[in-house]
Protein backbone atom coordinates (compact mmCIF):
# COMPACT_ATOMS: atom_id res chain seq x y z
CA UNK A 1 0.00 0.00 0.00
CA UNK A 2 1.33 3.41 -0.90
CA UNK A 3 1.28 4.69 2.64
CA UNK A 4 4.00 2.22 3.50
CA UNK A 5 6.31 4.29 1.32
CA UNK A 6 5.59 7.43 3.29
CA UNK A 7 8.46 9.74 4.03
CA UNK A 8 8.66 11.49 7.34
CA UNK A 9 6.39 14.30 8.29
CA UNK A 10 6.75 17.31 6.07
CA UNK A 11 8.27 19.62 8.64
CA UNK A 12 8.33 23.40 8.56
CA UNK A 13 11.65 24.73 7.34
CA UNK A 14 13.24 28.14 7.59
CA UNK A 15 13.85 29.69 4.20
CA UNK A 16 16.09 32.69 3.53
CA UNK A 17 14.69 35.29 1.19
CA UNK A 18 17.42 36.03 -1.35
CA UNK A 19 15.42 38.69 -3.17
CA UNK A 20 11.93 39.65 -4.21
CA UNK A 21 11.84 40.71 -7.82
CA UNK A 22 8.89 42.39 -9.55
CA UNK A 23 7.53 40.18 -12.32
CA UNK A 24 4.66 42.40 -13.48
CA UNK A 25 2.81 45.31 -11.85
CA UNK A 26 0.78 42.76 -9.87
CA UNK A 27 3.22 39.92 -9.35
CA UNK A 28 6.57 39.33 -7.71
CA UNK A 29 8.92 36.39 -7.70
CA UNK A 30 10.38 35.40 -4.34
CA UNK A 31 13.77 33.71 -4.56
CA UNK A 32 14.43 31.50 -1.55
CA UNK A 33 17.31 29.45 -0.25
CA UNK A 34 16.01 26.56 1.81
CA UNK A 35 18.82 24.83 3.72
CA UNK A 36 18.31 21.08 3.54
CA UNK A 37 15.74 21.33 0.74
CA UNK A 38 15.05 17.74 -0.34
CA UNK A 39 14.50 18.73 -3.96
CA UNK A 40 11.26 18.93 -5.88
CA UNK A 41 9.68 17.83 -9.10
CA UNK A 42 8.40 20.39 -11.58
CA UNK A 43 4.72 20.99 -10.80
CA UNK A 44 4.91 20.59 -7.03
CA UNK A 45 4.00 23.23 -4.46
CA UNK A 46 4.92 24.42 -0.99
CA UNK A 47 2.90 25.71 1.92
CA UNK A 48 4.10 29.07 3.23
CA UNK A 49 3.37 30.12 6.81
CA UNK A 50 3.49 33.67 8.14
CA UNK A 51 3.49 34.47 11.86
CA UNK A 52 2.54 37.83 13.36
CA UNK A 53 4.18 39.07 16.55
CA UNK A 54 1.24 37.93 18.65
CA UNK A 55 1.49 34.40 17.30
CA UNK A 56 -1.31 34.67 14.75
CA UNK A 57 -0.51 32.58 11.69
CA UNK A 58 -1.67 32.37 8.12
CA UNK A 59 -0.82 29.72 5.54
CA UNK A 60 -1.08 29.61 1.78
CA UNK A 61 -0.01 27.18 -0.91
CA UNK A 62 2.21 28.34 -3.78
CA UNK A 63 3.48 26.43 -6.77
CA UNK A 64 7.22 26.29 -7.27
CA UNK A 65 8.03 28.18 -10.46
CA UNK A 66 11.67 27.17 -10.71
CA UNK A 67 13.22 23.98 -12.04
CA UNK A 68 15.01 21.83 -9.47
CA UNK A 69 18.20 23.69 -8.51
CA UNK A 70 19.80 22.61 -5.26
CA UNK A 71 18.50 24.45 -2.21
CA UNK A 72 17.05 27.31 -4.24
CA UNK A 73 13.37 27.65 -5.13
CA UNK A 74 11.32 30.46 -6.61
CA UNK A 75 7.68 31.29 -5.96
CA UNK A 76 5.69 33.76 -8.02
CA UNK A 77 2.96 35.53 -6.09
CA UNK A 78 0.25 37.61 -7.73
CA UNK A 79 -1.07 40.30 -5.41
CA UNK A 80 -4.76 40.08 -4.62
CA UNK A 81 -5.62 43.61 -3.56
CA UNK A 82 -7.73 42.68 -0.56
CA UNK A 83 -5.74 39.54 0.19
CA UNK A 84 -4.27 38.75 3.57
CA UNK A 85 -1.03 37.11 2.47
CA UNK A 86 -0.24 37.94 -1.15
CA UNK A 87 0.19 41.73 -0.63
CA UNK A 88 2.62 40.97 2.19
CA UNK A 89 4.64 38.56 0.09
CA UNK A 90 4.61 40.70 -3.03
CA UNK A 91 5.17 44.12 -1.41
CA UNK A 92 6.52 43.86 2.13
CA UNK A 93 8.85 40.88 2.03
CA UNK A 94 12.45 41.60 1.00
CA UNK A 95 15.86 40.03 0.78
CA UNK A 96 17.25 39.08 4.19
CA UNK A 97 13.85 38.17 5.62
CA UNK A 98 13.07 34.60 6.56
CA UNK A 99 9.96 32.59 5.75
CA UNK A 100 8.64 29.28 6.97
CA UNK A 101 7.58 26.73 4.45
CA UNK A 102 7.09 23.02 4.08
CA UNK A 103 7.12 20.82 1.06
CA UNK A 104 7.39 19.89 -1.65
CA UNK A 105 3.84 18.61 -1.93
CA UNK A 106 1.81 17.15 -4.75
CA UNK A 107 3.00 14.08 -6.59
CA UNK A 108 0.29 13.98 -9.22
CA UNK A 109 0.66 16.96 -11.54
CA UNK A 110 4.38 16.73 -12.18
CA UNK A 111 6.64 16.34 -15.17
CA UNK A 112 10.19 15.12 -15.59
CA UNK A 113 12.14 14.85 -18.83
CA UNK A 114 11.99 11.05 -18.58
CA UNK A 115 8.19 11.32 -18.82
CA UNK A 116 8.65 12.50 -22.40
CA UNK A 117 5.88 14.15 -24.35
CA UNK A 118 4.35 15.70 -26.26
CA UNK A 119 3.22 18.28 -23.69
CA UNK A 120 0.18 20.51 -23.93
CA UNK A 121 0.30 23.04 -21.10
CA UNK A 122 -2.55 25.51 -20.55
CA UNK A 123 -2.40 28.20 -17.87
CA UNK A 124 -4.31 31.27 -16.77
CA UNK A 125 -2.69 33.98 -14.65
CA UNK A 126 -0.60 32.68 -11.78
CA UNK A 127 -1.47 29.14 -12.89
CA UNK A 128 1.51 29.53 -15.18
CA UNK A 129 3.94 29.07 -12.27
CA UNK A 130 3.98 25.26 -12.03
CA UNK A 131 4.04 24.98 -15.83
CA UNK A 132 6.96 27.39 -15.89
CA UNK A 133 8.83 24.98 -13.65
CA UNK A 134 8.27 22.32 -16.31
CA UNK A 135 9.25 24.58 -19.21
CA UNK A 136 12.37 25.69 -17.34
CA UNK A 137 13.28 22.11 -16.50
CA UNK A 138 12.76 21.13 -20.12
CA UNK A 139 15.19 23.86 -21.17
CA UNK A 140 17.72 23.12 -18.42
CA UNK A 141 17.73 19.44 -19.30
CA UNK A 142 18.15 20.22 -22.99
CA UNK A 143 15.03 18.19 -23.71
CA UNK A 144 13.48 18.63 -27.13
CA UNK A 145 10.09 17.27 -26.12
CA UNK A 146 7.45 18.79 -28.37
CA UNK A 147 5.68 21.32 -26.10
CA UNK A 148 2.85 23.76 -26.61
CA UNK A 149 2.17 26.30 -23.90
CA UNK A 150 -1.03 28.34 -23.99
CA UNK A 151 -0.90 31.34 -21.65
CA UNK A 152 -3.99 33.36 -20.83
CA UNK A 153 -3.60 36.76 -19.17
CA UNK A 154 -5.69 39.88 -18.76
CA UNK A 155 -3.42 41.95 -20.95
CA UNK A 156 0.10 41.93 -22.33
CA UNK A 157 1.60 43.66 -19.28
CA UNK A 158 0.09 40.98 -17.05
CA UNK A 159 1.88 38.07 -18.74
CA UNK A 160 4.28 36.41 -16.31
CA UNK A 161 7.81 35.57 -17.48
CA UNK A 162 7.06 37.23 -20.80
CA UNK A 163 10.63 37.89 -21.91
CA UNK A 164 11.90 34.55 -20.70
CA UNK A 165 9.14 32.73 -22.56
CA UNK A 166 10.09 34.60 -25.69
CA UNK A 167 13.70 33.50 -25.23
CA UNK A 168 12.77 29.89 -24.52
CA UNK A 169 10.45 29.59 -27.53
CA UNK A 170 11.59 27.49 -30.47
CA UNK A 171 13.35 24.15 -30.45
CA UNK A 172 10.06 22.36 -30.06
CA UNK A 173 8.45 24.84 -27.63
CA UNK A 174 5.59 26.91 -28.97
CA UNK A 175 4.11 29.60 -26.73
CA UNK A 176 0.69 31.01 -27.57
CA UNK A 177 -0.75 33.98 -25.70
CA UNK A 178 -4.38 34.89 -25.30
CA UNK A 179 -5.37 38.20 -23.73
CA UNK A 180 -8.79 38.39 -22.13
CA UNK A 181 -9.11 42.12 -21.45
CA UNK A 182 -8.23 43.40 -24.92
Amino acid sequence: MARAAVLGRLTWRAADVVRVAPETARASTIVLDVPGWPGHRAGQHVDVRLTAEDGYQAQRSYSIASAPNGDRIELTVVRIEDGEVSPYLADELRGGDRLELRGPMGGYFVWEPADGGPLLLVAGGSGLAPLMAMVRLRAAAGADVDTRLLVSARDWDDVLYRDELQRLGGGGLTVVHTLTAS
Partner: protein, 254 residues
Protein backbone atom coordinates in the same frame (compact mmCIF):
# COMPACT_ATOMS: atom_id res chain seq x y z
CA UNK B 1 -20.00 20.00 19.81
CA UNK B 2 -22.69 21.20 17.49
CA UNK B 3 -23.83 18.88 14.76
CA UNK B 4 -24.48 20.30 11.33
CA UNK B 5 -27.91 21.86 11.27
CA UNK B 6 -30.29 19.60 9.47
CA UNK B 7 -33.82 20.12 8.26
CA UNK B 8 -35.57 16.90 7.49
CA UNK B 9 -37.83 15.87 4.69
CA UNK B 10 -37.59 19.01 2.67
CA UNK B 11 -38.16 18.86 -0.99
CA UNK B 12 -35.74 21.54 -2.02
CA UNK B 13 -37.14 21.97 -5.47
CA UNK B 14 -40.44 22.91 -3.87
CA UNK B 15 -38.71 25.25 -1.44
CA UNK B 16 -36.27 26.95 -3.71
CA UNK B 17 -34.10 28.70 -1.17
CA UNK B 18 -33.38 28.29 2.47
CA UNK B 19 -30.49 30.33 3.76
CA UNK B 20 -29.13 30.20 7.26
CA UNK B 21 -29.71 33.42 9.16
CA UNK B 22 -28.57 32.60 12.66
CA UNK B 23 -24.97 32.02 13.67
CA UNK B 24 -23.85 28.52 14.47
CA UNK B 25 -20.71 26.74 15.50
CA UNK B 26 -18.31 25.14 13.10
CA UNK B 27 -18.73 21.72 11.65
CA UNK B 28 -18.30 18.70 13.74
CA UNK B 29 -14.78 17.56 14.45
CA UNK B 30 -13.98 14.43 12.51
CA UNK B 31 -13.38 10.93 13.72
CA UNK B 32 -14.98 9.01 16.50
CA UNK B 33 -14.04 9.47 20.09
CA UNK B 34 -11.26 11.70 18.92
CA UNK B 35 -9.62 13.94 21.45
CA UNK B 36 -10.43 16.80 19.17
CA UNK B 37 -14.13 16.18 19.58
CA UNK B 38 -15.59 19.25 21.20
CA UNK B 39 -12.34 20.81 20.24
CA UNK B 40 -10.91 23.80 21.94
CA UNK B 41 -9.98 26.06 19.05
CA UNK B 42 -7.07 27.53 20.95
CA UNK B 43 -5.75 24.06 21.69
CA UNK B 44 -6.00 23.24 18.01
CA UNK B 45 -4.15 26.47 17.28
CA UNK B 46 -1.39 25.57 19.71
CA UNK B 47 -1.19 22.03 18.37
CA UNK B 48 -0.80 23.32 14.88
CA UNK B 49 1.99 25.67 15.79
CA UNK B 50 3.79 23.49 18.32
CA UNK B 51 4.15 19.78 17.96
CA UNK B 52 7.80 19.75 18.89
CA UNK B 53 8.85 21.47 15.71
CA UNK B 54 10.95 24.57 15.51
CA UNK B 55 9.43 27.66 17.03
CA UNK B 56 7.91 29.92 14.46
CA UNK B 57 9.76 32.71 12.78
CA UNK B 58 8.04 36.06 13.25
CA UNK B 59 7.27 37.55 9.86
CA UNK B 60 8.49 41.15 10.02
CA UNK B 61 5.66 43.52 9.24
CA UNK B 62 2.99 40.83 8.97
CA UNK B 63 -0.15 41.56 10.95
CA UNK B 64 -2.68 39.27 9.36
CA UNK B 65 -6.37 39.76 9.33
CA UNK B 66 -8.05 38.04 12.22
CA UNK B 67 -11.43 39.59 11.64
CA UNK B 68 -12.49 37.13 8.97
CA UNK B 69 -11.29 34.10 10.93
CA UNK B 70 -13.50 33.27 13.91
CA UNK B 71 -11.39 30.66 15.67
CA UNK B 72 -14.19 28.30 16.58
CA UNK B 73 -15.27 28.11 12.97
CA UNK B 74 -12.02 28.09 11.06
CA UNK B 75 -9.50 25.25 11.54
CA UNK B 76 -5.79 26.02 11.87
CA UNK B 77 -4.12 27.22 8.68
CA UNK B 78 -7.42 27.94 6.94
CA UNK B 79 -8.88 31.25 5.74
CA UNK B 80 -12.47 32.12 4.98
CA UNK B 81 -13.55 32.69 1.41
CA UNK B 82 -16.87 33.74 -0.04
CA UNK B 83 -15.96 32.33 -3.44
CA UNK B 84 -16.37 28.67 -4.28
CA UNK B 85 -13.00 27.70 -5.76
CA UNK B 86 -12.76 24.66 -8.03
CA UNK B 87 -9.91 22.15 -8.06
CA UNK B 88 -10.14 18.89 -9.96
CA UNK B 89 -7.52 16.35 -10.94
CA UNK B 90 -9.00 15.74 -14.37
CA UNK B 91 -11.70 16.79 -16.80
CA UNK B 92 -15.21 17.50 -15.53
CA UNK B 93 -17.59 14.65 -16.37
CA UNK B 94 -21.01 15.67 -17.66
CA UNK B 95 -23.47 12.87 -17.04
CA UNK B 96 -27.16 13.19 -17.69
CA UNK B 97 -29.46 11.94 -14.96
CA UNK B 98 -31.02 9.20 -17.11
CA UNK B 99 -27.51 7.75 -17.46
CA UNK B 100 -26.79 8.08 -13.77
CA UNK B 101 -27.23 5.72 -10.86
CA UNK B 102 -25.80 5.27 -7.39
CA UNK B 103 -24.67 1.93 -5.97
CA UNK B 104 -23.59 0.46 -2.70
CA UNK B 105 -21.31 -2.48 -3.38
CA UNK B 106 -18.59 -4.50 -1.70
CA UNK B 107 -19.02 -6.16 1.67
CA UNK B 108 -22.80 -6.13 1.70
CA UNK B 109 -25.41 -8.85 1.82
CA UNK B 110 -26.88 -7.63 -1.44
CA UNK B 111 -25.56 -4.77 -3.61
CA UNK B 112 -28.02 -1.90 -3.87
CA UNK B 113 -28.58 0.48 -6.73
CA UNK B 114 -30.73 3.58 -7.09
CA UNK B 115 -31.70 5.41 -10.24
CA UNK B 116 -32.09 9.19 -9.99
CA UNK B 117 -35.85 8.85 -9.55
CA UNK B 118 -35.43 6.20 -6.88
CA UNK B 119 -32.89 8.29 -5.05
CA UNK B 120 -35.13 11.34 -5.13
CA UNK B 121 -37.95 9.33 -3.60
CA UNK B 122 -35.88 8.94 -0.43
CA UNK B 123 -36.28 11.38 2.48
CA UNK B 124 -34.40 14.60 1.83
CA UNK B 125 -32.53 16.73 4.29
CA UNK B 126 -31.18 20.23 4.07
CA UNK B 127 -27.93 20.81 5.92
CA UNK B 128 -26.00 23.95 6.74
CA UNK B 129 -22.33 23.16 7.23
CA UNK B 130 -18.85 24.66 7.05
CA UNK B 131 -16.55 23.14 4.46
CA UNK B 132 -12.75 23.12 4.48
CA UNK B 133 -10.46 22.53 1.50
CA UNK B 134 -6.88 21.38 2.01
CA UNK B 135 -5.78 24.18 -0.32
CA UNK B 136 -6.52 26.43 2.70
CA UNK B 137 -9.94 27.92 2.03
CA UNK B 138 -12.94 27.38 4.24
CA UNK B 139 -16.46 28.35 3.36
CA UNK B 140 -18.94 28.89 6.17
CA UNK B 141 -22.66 28.17 6.30
CA UNK B 142 -22.94 26.35 2.99
CA UNK B 143 -26.43 24.97 2.41
CA UNK B 144 -26.89 21.62 0.70
CA UNK B 145 -29.84 19.39 -0.11
CA UNK B 146 -29.49 15.64 -0.20
CA UNK B 147 -29.91 12.32 1.51
CA UNK B 148 -28.22 11.18 4.68
CA UNK B 149 -25.77 8.35 4.10
CA UNK B 150 -27.50 6.67 7.06
CA UNK B 151 -30.64 6.42 4.93
CA UNK B 152 -28.76 4.67 2.13
CA UNK B 153 -26.83 2.35 4.42
CA UNK B 154 -30.09 1.47 6.12
CA UNK B 155 -30.98 -0.53 3.01
CA UNK B 156 -28.00 -2.89 3.19
CA UNK B 157 -26.50 -5.19 5.78
CA UNK B 158 -22.77 -4.95 6.24
CA UNK B 159 -19.98 -5.68 8.67
CA UNK B 160 -17.57 -3.41 6.79
CA UNK B 161 -15.34 -0.98 8.65
CA UNK B 162 -14.36 1.21 5.72
CA UNK B 163 -15.92 2.92 2.74
CA UNK B 164 -14.47 3.97 -0.60
CA UNK B 165 -16.38 6.62 -2.51
CA UNK B 166 -16.01 6.18 -6.27
CA UNK B 167 -16.89 8.57 -9.04
CA UNK B 168 -17.22 9.14 -12.74
CA UNK B 169 -13.70 9.84 -13.98
CA UNK B 170 -12.16 7.21 -11.73
CA UNK B 171 -11.69 9.30 -8.58
CA UNK B 172 -11.77 7.47 -5.26
CA UNK B 173 -11.45 8.51 -1.63
CA UNK B 174 -11.54 6.42 1.54
CA UNK B 175 -12.90 6.83 5.06
CA UNK B 176 -13.75 4.72 8.07
CA UNK B 177 -17.42 3.89 7.87
CA UNK B 178 -17.98 5.65 11.19
CA UNK B 179 -16.98 8.93 9.52
CA UNK B 180 -20.01 8.82 7.26
CA UNK B 181 -22.62 7.41 9.64
CA UNK B 182 -24.54 8.96 12.52
CA UNK B 183 -25.66 12.07 10.66
CA UNK B 184 -22.17 13.05 9.51
CA UNK B 185 -22.37 12.63 5.73
CA UNK B 186 -24.77 13.16 2.88
CA UNK B 187 -25.17 12.30 -0.76
CA UNK B 188 -26.15 15.73 -2.05
CA UNK B 189 -27.78 16.91 -5.27
CA UNK B 190 -28.59 20.50 -4.37
CA UNK B 191 -26.48 23.51 -3.38
CA UNK B 192 -28.26 26.61 -2.15
CA UNK B 193 -31.51 25.27 -3.54
CA UNK B 194 -30.20 24.73 -7.05
CA UNK B 195 -28.87 21.62 -8.78
CA UNK B 196 -25.14 21.25 -8.12
CA UNK B 197 -23.10 22.57 -11.04
CA UNK B 198 -20.92 20.01 -12.80
CA UNK B 199 -17.72 21.79 -11.75
CA UNK B 200 -18.78 21.41 -8.13
CA UNK B 201 -19.53 17.71 -8.54
CA UNK B 202 -23.05 17.62 -9.93
CA UNK B 203 -25.33 15.95 -10.53
CA UNK B 204 -24.57 14.17 -7.25
CA UNK B 205 -21.63 14.44 -4.90
CA UNK B 206 -20.67 13.38 -1.42
CA UNK B 207 -20.60 15.79 1.53
CA UNK B 208 -18.47 14.90 4.57
CA UNK B 209 -17.98 18.24 6.30
CA UNK B 210 -15.84 16.83 9.11
CA UNK B 211 -12.96 16.15 6.72
CA UNK B 212 -11.05 18.19 4.15
CA UNK B 213 -13.18 18.43 1.08
CA UNK B 214 -11.27 15.95 -1.07
CA UNK B 215 -12.96 13.35 1.16
CA UNK B 216 -16.27 14.52 -0.38
CA UNK B 217 -16.09 13.00 -3.86
CA UNK B 218 -17.55 14.90 -6.78
CA UNK B 219 -19.54 13.08 -9.49
CA UNK B 220 -20.34 10.29 -7.05
CA UNK B 221 -21.44 6.93 -8.44
CA UNK B 222 -21.20 4.70 -5.45
CA UNK B 223 -19.92 3.60 -2.09
CA UNK B 224 -17.81 0.47 -1.83
CA UNK B 225 -17.92 -1.02 1.65
CA UNK B 226 -14.76 -2.83 2.69
CA UNK B 227 -13.31 -4.80 5.58
CA UNK B 228 -9.95 -3.09 5.01
CA UNK B 229 -8.93 0.49 4.46
CA UNK B 230 -7.85 1.33 0.92
CA UNK B 231 -6.26 4.74 0.31
CA UNK B 232 -7.86 6.60 -2.58
CA UNK B 233 -6.56 8.98 -5.23
CA UNK B 234 -5.11 11.83 -3.17
CA UNK B 235 -4.39 9.54 -0.24
CA UNK B 236 -1.89 7.70 -2.43
CA UNK B 237 -0.52 11.01 -3.77
CA UNK B 238 0.85 12.50 -0.59
CA UNK B 239 -2.32 13.57 1.22
CA UNK B 240 -3.45 12.48 4.67
CA UNK B 241 -5.47 9.33 5.10
CA UNK B 242 -7.47 10.91 7.93
CA UNK B 243 -7.85 14.50 6.75
CA UNK B 244 -9.28 16.02 9.92
CA UNK B 245 -9.01 19.78 9.43
CA UNK B 246 -9.12 20.46 13.17
CA UNK B 247 -5.97 18.38 13.53
CA UNK B 248 -4.57 19.91 10.35
CA UNK B 249 -4.00 16.49 8.80
CA UNK B 250 -3.16 17.69 5.32
CA UNK B 251 -0.31 15.49 4.16
CA UNK B 252 1.30 12.14 4.86
CA UNK B 253 2.65 12.13 8.38
CA UNK B 254 0.50 15.04 9.64
Amino acid sequence: MAAPRVRHNLRPWDHPKHVATSPRRGCEAGGTGSEVAGHDPLAAFVRATGGGQMSSIISRGFHGRRADAPRDRVPPGQYVTRDFPVLSAGPTPHRSLDQWDLSIVGEVDEPRRWTWEELRALPTQEVTVDIHCVTKWSKLDTVWQGISVDTLLGEVRTSAQYVVQYSDGGYTTNLPLTAVTGGKAWVVFGYDGEPIAAEHGGPVRMLVPSRYLWKSAKWLRGLRLQANDEPGFWETNGYSNDADPWREQRYWGD
